[in-house]
Symmetry: C2
Subunit: 408 residues, 2 copies
């Protein structure tokens, strides 16, 4: 919180609401680096601590362009890179000194590793009272499974999310993105900012413990409400709404299309749309519950109309009648939609090796800030000497000695 108060009412260009916050990001791969990227997008200074020579494992995971991992580059935009061998006492001492100049430390080692390295919350908060120390893990820092290895697929399976995703006559299905890692990253960033707000008020820091498993469970609200009432684990319902009709995916001439009418007013519009206006007054269809009871007939009537039209024609006609609708876009179509373009949601940075890299930044828009300038991910160790010199005034000869023995 080193920035001075501002009184301007115009958006602050380039600063971001977290400007003045310094984050030591020891995390690797996905959940932690994603968390760090959200904080960086908000203007925090994120210093990534990496293993000398090898760096974050994500540097070695594709997809690659010109030998550079685009996966790594997107997850580590706007960060600085400092290499440190944390098994070297000298490097570890510098890390603790850096922590003393930082407001946040972020890590996603397996529980127990930071204690083994001498950089657990006890050690770091002794060196940096008031620091917010955030730990992300698969199962949490405690409990009988805390040391079990967890990948996204495993946590999707263990949370029950796979069991409710997919079609009724098909198998449990993984969400096609690493949603367990990513939602844990969002919750961790949310928790970090919450702890910073309290620290600003009380001077007290905290150890924040976020797990992938609990992050997914916390999102399963609809599923939990059904389970609480029935005592039976909800089954897969595919692409249909569990209660409302018509509300789902319908077949058109050249693909599938979504129509969603959750109440009688919208159903009357659907009936007009499909040129069956009499259906709105038909006693078989006058309530949502009755329509769901006669779902097959409603679907038949709708597809009798949609099958003869393209997805684009159906969407266009439904939009004109105020019926909620959408095509099912592939990812390439999604990011070039006119809405995404109008919102400038797809950003890019120019990376010296990878060239222009497109990415979606943090999705929150603050009227107090115009968008922050994109900055590419750093080469491994690019900021080691400058960070240690600027922040800790480590003498050149000490830096040279540390480099010589592989500590940096």
């Amino acid at each position: 919180m080193s920035a001075t108060p501002e009184v301007a009412s115009a958006p602050t260009a380039g600063a971001g609401p977290l400007s003045g916050v310094r984050v030591l990001d020891l995390s690797r791969m996905l959940a932690g680096p994603y968390c760090g990227s959200l904080l960086a997008d908000l203007g925090a200074e994120v210093i990534k601590i990496e293993v000398p020579g090898h760096g974050d494992d994500a540097r070695h995971i594709g997809p690659f362009r010109n030998g550079e991992s685009i996966y790594f580059d997107i997850l580590n935009r706007r960060k600085r890179s400092v290499t440190m061998n944390l098994k070297d006492a000298g490097a570890r001492g510098l890390l603790l000194r850096l922590a003393g100049r930082s407001q946040v430390l972020l890590e996603n080692f397996r529980p127990g590793v930071t204690e083994h390295l001498g950089i657990d919350y006890a050690a770091v908060s002794a060196a940096s009272p008031g620091i917010v120390y955030a730990s992300i893990s698969g199962y949490g820092q405690s409990g009988p499974m805390s040391l079990f290895p967890a990948y996204d697929l495993i946590v999707q399976a263990a949370s029950g999310l796979m069991s409710v995703t997919g079609h009724p006559d098909g198998p449990p299905t993984k969400v096609g993105e690493s949603i367990g890692d990513l939602t844990a990253g969002v919750f961790a960033a949310f928790g970090i900012v919450t702890a910073l707000l309290e620290a600003a008020r009380t001077g007290r820091g905290a150890h924040l413990d976020v797990s992938m498993l609990e992050s997914l469970l916390a999102l399963e609200v609809t599923v939990q409400s059904q389970y609480d009432v029935t005592g039976v684990a909800p089954a897969r319902v595919g692409n249909r709404h569990p209660v409302s009709t018509p509300f789902g995916v319908y077949q058109a001439a050249d693909g599938q299309v979504i129509l969603a009418a959750a109440n009688d007013t919208l159903f009357a519009r659907v009936a007009e749309l499909i040129e069956r206006p009499e259906m709105a007054a038909d006693p078989r269809y006058v309530t949502d519950a009755l329509r769901t009871e006669h779902e097959a007939e409603v679907r038949g009537a709708i597809e009798g109309w949609t099958c003869g039209r393209t997805v684009a024609e159906v969407v266009d006609a439904a939009e004109r009648r105020g019926v909620p609708t959408s095509p099912i876009l592939d990812y390439g179509q999604a990011v070039v939609s006119e809405q995404v373009a109008a919102r400038h949601a797809l950003l890019h940075f120019d990376h010296p090796v990878a060239g222009s890299v497109d990415y979606i930044g943090q999705p929150m828009r603050f009227s107090s800030h115009s968008p922050i300038e994109p900055v590419p991910s750093p080469p491994l160790g690019a900021d080691t000497d400058s960070v240690l010199t600027e922040l800790l005034e480590v003498p050149a000869e000490e830096l040279a000695a540390l480099h010589a023995r592989g500590a940096l």
Copy 2:
């Protein structure tokens, strides 16, 4: 931020890191109320503003127990309920006065509605300088689609998430929870706290604009990295890892089971597990890329072993060998796992009508705070008079007149 600084180092019982923050929650249904529930779990005082007589639509959506919506109850735990007809000038005036006593206003009306009601950011920030005003919507507050109706299914389709979820030979698949609403709720809560942190520093508030569409797009990091490199929208890969082998779902005697070996060391353990130790040195399988090339043979070898064993036997044996593994739990199994029990992640409150309601609270654990006491959702309007009396000192005769004309 009315609380006084504390110096204790022990966890603060019952308070929560957001204690002292008051939130006016005008939101309905899912995304906004979920955001409010996260803030309430962190100790904020959340005052829910509802339409007299009818209340939040979610009160009328099942599943029900004793006529009470458990869906509503879970989403509105720890909140107070104040009824106000915002089309009544007197009620609107009281809302603006309440905003003057609050740090946050949260709404998820369709864009334009708050302006029509005279409670948009301009009006509210005039009455309450420095307030954080958070708007959640399907597509955002601007852009050509901002006024289009958006449901979770529609946003899952428009974001491309459905297109990558499901099996290669099957259709695009909806995630079996309303992940578009819920992740927007998490990002909104994160943004609110971020804006509060800046307000604590500068005194300046902000209008926060969070959309369901951009929240999902921001999570599609792996998909975006693949698309950026290939220029082709990623296809559905089902339950398999797109790059690593063996890493997926395998058939056991009584169901399916996950084994996940992302490197050669773990593959050697898998080879031992399935009693085919020679596979680890077989030139066809010595690297992850080669194993992926020969995925069918690797799968055959694994299922030759797993098919003769139960899921429980496979998981037990894999755990003992340090191979990442999990059964695919249904939701009921997920919430009674020993890990969930040890972490006390499944909470409950006692509701006067619905009885005991189980729920998963906000998933972030702060060492500075012990868990907050669960509180049930409020009956419609239960706190109208007490809030208006306590916070605004509205005289009894004025309250009576407002009630008489249906303004409260």
